[in-house]
Amino acid sequence: MGYIIKGEKHDWELVIGLEVHAQVISKAKLFSGSSTDFGGGPNTQVSFIDAGMPGMLPVLNGHAVEQAVKTGLGLKAKINRRSVFARKNYFYADMPQGYQISQYDQPIVGEGTLVLDMPDGSTREIGIERLHLEQDAGKSIHDLHPHKSYIDLNRSGIPLMEIVSKPDIRTPEEVGIYLKKLRSILRYLGTCDGNMEEGSMRCDANVSVRPVGSTELRTRCEIKNVNSVRFVMQAIEYEARRQVDCYESGGTVDQETRLYDSHKGETRSMRSKEFAHDYRYFPDPDLLPIEFDEAFVARLRDALPELPDDKLTRFIKDFGLTAYDAGVLVAEKESAVYFEEVAKGRDPKLAANWVITNLFGVLNKRGIEIGDSPVSAKDLGRLIELISDNTISSRMAKEVFEAMVETGKAPDAIVEERGMKQITDTGAIDAAVDKIIAENADKVAQYKSGKVQMLGWFVGQVMKATQGKANPAMCSDALKKKLDA
């Protein structure tokens, strides 16, 4: 691993635990029927329940429960067949009830595991402490008026899963891999879209440091609500250094909540322990405990999609891919599906190479998702067939692919239009070979005298004579046959 912070007195290591708030994919809110669509006009998706009006009561959205259980299963976690909603009491203008309905000592999902795939091909297991369901708050808007705040309650009551890791993470790099892996699993499961920019996945990091070799857990700081993987990593790096400096200069670290300022690249104190809320959690008397039987869990388990870890193993085993290639392909469910369609009945390694190198290259350059790919999996698969059956050469294939990207046409049409068909007719190749041999008696003599590397020159000449359409392997074979005769 080796993310060591060098101090004057010690070498220090990081201890990191992550709390991820993942917005549950659900049409309705956790306790009301209001829409959860992103981007609606302010306060257009607010029921009396979401607005905390007198006498209003929450009614649990059963779909959100299924989503939480699915996520728990995807994290190989313990599913608690009885869990309890609790009220977390504190005042804030965009939290209309004066409490957040969350889960406290009896969450819906218990301990689980997330496997990190490290760049060197090794894996690391990070413990999941728990997953619980809770409702989101609204949004305060402070910049629309010089001395008033506006409140948008569209988010109020949106279902969230809070996924808490154990303090098993040791480096900022692992944080990045953890978040990407978690996002990948959530997207495979269809339980969260993982969009950090729109706020449907948010991350708080609990960070502490300790001398290398020690097993103690020192005072941690919580860094709140950082909205990209890169910023989370930067915030942790800054925070770790800050804590090391505190200890090394003889100071202590106070337990507090800190905010990351991405412009200045630093964290700063938001709320110290003395001002920490006493949330006065207690079971919400408006809601019954969530209870379900094993059959409910089994039904969800049976309907789970193949998850990235299993897909990775299968890609390596069935397709003979490298761990790296397989990892790249399974990271996004859509990429994996695309790849499998390209590879089906064709050369899987060639397919992987084309998807990763050529297709992803184009997607990255254009900044688009695979769902918007200009080349369909069917067409890319056909291109690979054309390579495999020697209709076109690899070099020609690159040209055809470029044309496919530009025009969206099928590869056969492009090959046809441009007359790019590879010459595999032995008669035509033999004729060209004979002509070249006849015209270059000196080169033939050199070859025959032992300069066998001349073969490459002859192949080049034949290709030139056929405007590059001859199959290079066939040219080479024909030349060897004649020259060695």
């Binding site: 009006m53 007198p54 009561l57 009614v59 649990l60 209309p96 207690f282």
Partner: protein
């Protein structure tokens, strides 16, 4: 017109069907009585115009022959129920000007049954009180007076406006809510019938919450039959309230004639504390005799955790209230007192908006839930609550119903006990256990004290067994021949 207010709901139902008078006439008679009895301060809002409009609609339905179960019956609605377009205050300054855009499930069901709402009834602020003296809109008076003393008496609480208006014939029935005795104790103080059904029988949706695990709506009427009629209309599963029960609603009225022959009636020895007035003890004994005479068998039982019920209640209820009342923050509705910051606005609004008793309970509730005290108070209270529940479960293995006094004393003077919260809380000593257990309970007026004030007896039965509750209440009512106040 005056005597139109003297009928029971059952009688008026008959006479409306026979067209002896119209719903509008019945409503007008009650509106007139309300005007005359303004001094009782039973109403926070009178909705005369709306009532007359609805009465006319009732008359149309009656004429067409498809009246509902309560068609044309004038009712009062405790001002804890949200009513669409009609000021809803919970008797608190903090809900100033709040007109909900929705109707509570219970008041909607009563509307659907054809009843006519005459107005919103006064109560203790947020239903917190046992004397109806904590209302921002002033205390409610009990229409009863002690013989030879011209002292204004409390109607009990928190459903004081409901009890007072029913007893004084201003309405034929009223909704109440009962969290620790708020239907039963004022019913006893005002000489009427009050029924707290099983927790979950009536939807809590649209009722301003006090303590969610205890709050339950119920009817307050002058007769047991009327309560049975009204409760049936109020009850039923509501998908909008997760704690409401998915059960068929029985025809409670049909149970009334079944009598108590063969029933075993539990007499809990713990409900005879040293301070119980001899009059009440005597009345209780009389109640046992009446039931025995009707064929029931009295059985002495023990409810060993009774003495812990009141302290348990005064942890659980304020804890839930402290959280339920957090939404009154000046941000979206009701009163707002501007401040220098958000926190300052909260503090000023809530200090101005809540009365002393509500503030006291928010403080208690906040304390018992706070870090370091939760286990010692709230968690322990929940454990004791389970034991109290077990007491009843065990008792109902042996008996079918339990008979106790409703309150330890008759109504007292306005101003008495108001500086002693503990003395005030003791009013609920007999009613609170059933609230904690979620079982149904009713108070039936059973006699008068030496100075002529109503005394009530309380009947408790098993969860969801309101039919037995009504059977016992009917026998008590028949035997007691309680002298209801006359219509004036």
């Amino acid at each position: 017109m005056t005597q139109l207010t003297s009928f029971t709901i059952a009688e008026a139902r008959e006479k409306l069907a026979k067209k002896e008078f119209t719903a509008l006439e019945l409503t007008d008679a009650h509106l007139a009585a309300m005007e005359r009895a303004k001094d009782l301060n039973a109403f926070i809002t009178m909705t005369g115009d709306l009532a007359r409009e609805r009465a006319r609609e009732s008359d149309k339905r009656l004429a067409a022959g498809h009246g509902g179960a309560l068609e044309g019956i004038p009712l009062g609605i405790k001002d804890l129920f949200c009513t669409e377009g009609v000021l809803t205050t919970a008797a608190s300054h903090i809900l100033d000007g709040f007109k909900p855009r929705y109707e509570s499930t219970v008041s909607q069901k009563l509307r659907d049954a054809g009843s006519v709402m005459l107005g919103k009834l006064n109560l203790d602020e947020f239903a917190m009180g046992s004397a109806n003296i904590t209302s921002y809109y002033g205390p409610v008076k009990n229409p009863w007076k002690a013989k030879g003393r011209n002292v204004e008496l409390v109607p009990g609480g928190s459903s004081g406006g409901s009890a007072s208006s029913v007893a004084a014939h201003l309405v034929m029935g009223a909704t109440g809510t009962d969290t620790g005795g708020s239907i039963r104790q004022p019913a006893a103080f005002c000489g009427i019938v009050g029924v707290k059904p099983t927790y979950g029988r009536c939807s809590r949706w649209g009722v301003v919450a006090f303590a969610s695990s205890l709050d339950q709506a119920g009817p307050m009427t002058r007769t047991v039959r009327d309560a049975a009629i009204m409760l049936r209309a109020m009850s039923g599963y509501d998908p909008k309230d997760s704690t409401s029960a998915q059960l068929e609603v029985p025809d409670f009225e049909a149970a009334l004639a079944k009598g108590v022959k063969g029933l075993r009636i539990g007499i809990p020895k713990e409900y005879r504390p040293a301070g119980l007035s001899p009059e009440l003890a005597a009345l209780w004994d009389k109640g046992v005799e009446w039931l025995k005479a009707a064929g029931a068998t009295p059985v002495e039982i023990s409810l060993p955790h009774t003495k812990s019920a009141l302290p348990t209640y005064y942890i659980v209820a304020p804890a839930e209230a402290s959280s339920n009342l957090a939404r009154y923050d000046g941000v979206r509705f009701g009163l707002r007192v501007e401040g220098k910051s958000l926190d300052d606005m909260y503090a000023k609004t809530r200090a101005a908006g809540f009365g002393a008793e509500v503030r006291r309970r928010i403080m208690i509730g906040t304390y018992v839930l706070s870090a370091g005290y939760y286990d010692a108070y709230y968690l322990k209270a929940q454990k004791v609550r389970a034991l109290i529940n077990q007491d009843f479960t065990d008792a109902f293995e042996k008996v079918d119903a339990i008979l106790t006094p409703t309150a330890p004393t008759p109504a007292f003077g306005i101003g008495e006990k108001s500086d002693d919260p503990i003395a005030m809380y003791l009013n609920d000593v007999f009613t609170v256990p059933a609230s904690l257990a979620g079982i149904p309970g009713a108070s039936v007026p059973a006699g008068l004290s030496a100075d002529g004030l109503p005394l009530g007896l309380q009947v408790l039965t098993r969860r969801w067994d309101e039919e037995t509750l009504f059977r016992v209440c009917q026998v008590l009512e028949d035997a007691a021949q309680f002298p209801l106040l006359p219509a004036v």
